[in-house]
């Protein structure tokens, strides 16, 4: 194993000197995992994620991880990840698009078992005819699995969010999985400046004995291998136990809010939310929105920005407050269904102010001029 110095998370995140490097999003994943003190990573290839877990395999060979292997499928990988986490190790994996859906049953299982798994999702289209191109449709399916969801905008976000995710998910009061979503190709396959800490420092190890559930190492008699299944009886008691269990998973996500504030500066990012026209977006749709708003301001149009960084937990109160003054809310998205639009509308006091779109999908890019045209139309 490579020798690295263990440092406090706050030092690694906020104080350690950083070097600026020009790397791809996939390489940013590698750099985050190098410093995350991950015990085990399990991979299965799918475009556009393949390169990131390939690079994690490379650093396993260099001695940064204790174990790494390729599973038989995405379902097998996510199941193996559950076993590793239940056994008390810090574990990482990544997937995307059809891989996300192939593994789908595992995500609510991770959450229900209180497993602090960190998984990166490099999003892509899910469709027939087959597409491997950028699209965030899979995020719509993931919203109600019980896992926490952050949406990275840049490679820098990807690096920072993956590292902090381990610390947020492993809090005793949280201890549910976290997905770091990033727009495939746009971030994973393009280069950007990323500021990273020295590679000879890493996070403290995961301590499974602070878990809100017993680890699977037979500490408690009688010996059990799984969370005790109470599902086998059809009676009110088992229904009530299930209901209380599921409420507790949602409660764990609520408790994550304060940790997201502490480590990532909040669930949203804002710029001039007092403006009449507000553009709300997440991921790279926000990058394009930022360009569009800058162009609008040069034309003398007053527009503001609200970036949603965390989708689960969702910044309901923040969205409600920050959309209050706007006369029109524009929500650009890289998918056909407009899941972010639905989420934002459900949090707003006056959802009729929302203009859902522009939306592009199937791999199309979103020129800022497309968003600017909506801003112009609304300001006329």
């Amino acid at each position: 194993m490579i020798t690295q110095r263990i440092v406090e998370p706050e030092y690694l995140f906020f104080e350690a000197p950083r070097e600026k490097v020009f790397i791809t999003g996939s390489e940013a994943v590698r750099e985050a995992i190098k410093r995350a003190n991950v015990d085990m990573a399990i991979s299965y290839p799918i475009t556009p994620q393949s390169e990131s877990m390939h690079l994690v395999g490379d650093i396993f060979a260099e001695g940064y991880l204790k174990e790494y292997f390729r599973g038989e499928s995405e379902f097998a990988v996510m199941s193996a990840v559950a076993g590793a986490s239940m056994g008390g190790v810090r574990v990482f994996t990544a997937t995307g698009g059809p891989g996300t859906l192939r593994a789908f049953e595992n995500f609510p299982t991770w959450a229900g078992a209180r497993l602090p798994v960190v998984c990166a999702f490099m999003t892509r289209g899910v469709n027939s005819p087959l597409t491997i191109q950028p699209d965030t449709i899979e995020m719509a399916f993931m919203l109600d699995t019980g896992i926490m969801m952050l949406h990275a905008e840049t490679a820098q976000d990807l690096y920072d969010m993956i590292l902090t995710a381990f610390i947020i998910t492993e809090q005793t009061d949280v201890h549910i999985p976290m997905g770091i979503f990033v727009d495939g190709f746009f971030v994973t396959h393009s280069r950007d400046n990323v500021e990273i800490a020295a590679e000879d420092i890493k996070l403290p190890p995961y301590n499974p004995y602070n878990s809100p559930v017993p680890v699977m190492d037979m500490e408690n008699v009688p010996i059990r291998q799984m969370r005790d299944p109470f599902v086998m009886k059809s009676n009110f008691i088992s229904y009530a136990a299930h209901a209380s269990w599921q409420q507790e998973i949602l409660a764990a996500s609520e408790r994550a809010r304060k940790h997201i504030h502490k480590y990532l500066g909040g669930l949203v990012e804002t710029d001039n939310t007092d403006a009449d026209i507000l553009v709300v977006a997440s991921g790279t749709a926000f990058s394009q929105s930022r360009e569009a708003v800058a162009m609008a301001r040069r034309e003398g149009i007053d527009a503001g920005l609200l970036r949603i960084k965390s989708l689960r937990p969702f910044p309901t109160e923040e969205v409600k407050e920050m959309t209050r003054k706007a006369k029109t809310v524009i929500i650009p998205e890289f998918n056909r269904v407009g899941w972010l639009c639905r989420e934002v509308k459900s949090a707003m006091a006056a959802p009729e102010k929302v203009l859902g779109g522009p939306r592009v999908f199937g791999g199309m890019t979103m020129p800022p001029e497309l968003i600017l045209a909506e801003i112009r139309r609304c300001s006329a």
């Binding site: 008699v221 209380s244 949602l250």
Partner: protein, 193 residues
């Protein structure tokens, strides 16, 4: 009910009460505690716990696996301090030795289970209970069920971050804090009983 108005009170609250965290109740920071969902100082919470235990008709402690099994250094001392506390109060001890649902039927005289804690509370007519050494997930799960179906007042002593679903919760509970609670109870005993 609006989130900010929600209070964590003795029930029965209803068919399926919400998780307090989903109603906006936040866990206390270090040095703080919660009483009925409101942040108070630890001293205030300790005194409130003492009052509740001393005025209860049938105070009962529910120790869980984290202090019932001597699995790491310090656990035996913590368990001894809890036993001493129960003796001071005159509380019954009914253990939660593991988290398996008990089929075909639990013996509520000798055991409590997080999947159906109401059965033990109803059977023993427990009006004030104290959770200690129960893994956080199972404690929260049980505390909600108790709030939903019984009128039992719940207290949770937690070695981690605390429990919003209890009516009173302390966080970061150590042997010293248990002994401090014991001393407060001894002091108040003359006034209350």
């Amino acid at each position: 009910m609006s989130k900010s108005a929600y209070r964590v009170l003795a029930g029965p609250e209803g068919y399926l009460p919400p998780a307090a965290a989903s109603m906006g109740v936040m866990l206390p920071e270090k040095g703080e505690s919660l009483v009925e969902g409101r942040v108070v100082t630890e001293e205030e919470a300790l005194r409130k716990i003492a009052e509740k235990l001393l005025t209860a008709k049938n105070p009962t402690f529910f120790p869980g696996p984290l202090i019932l099994w001597n699995w790491k250094n310090g656990v035996a001392e913590r368990a001894a301090a809890i036993k001493e506390l129960a003796e001071t109060v005159g509380a019954k001890i009914i253990p939660m030795p593991d988290y398996r649902p008990k089929y075909p039927m639990i013996n509520p005289d000798i055991e409590i289970n997080p999947n159906h804690p109401n059965l033990t509370i109803w059977h023993n007519k427990i009006d004030v209970c104290l959770f200690v050494g129960v893994h956080c997930h199972y404690a929260n799960m049980a505390l909600k069920i108790i709030r939903g179906g019984t009128d039992c007042f719940t207290i949770a002593l937690c070695g981690e971050a605390g429990h919003e679903d209890a009516m009173i919760t302390l966080r970061d509970v150590t042997v010293a804090k248990i002994k401090q609670l014991n001393e407060i109870i001894k002091t108040l005993m003359g006034e209350i009983r």
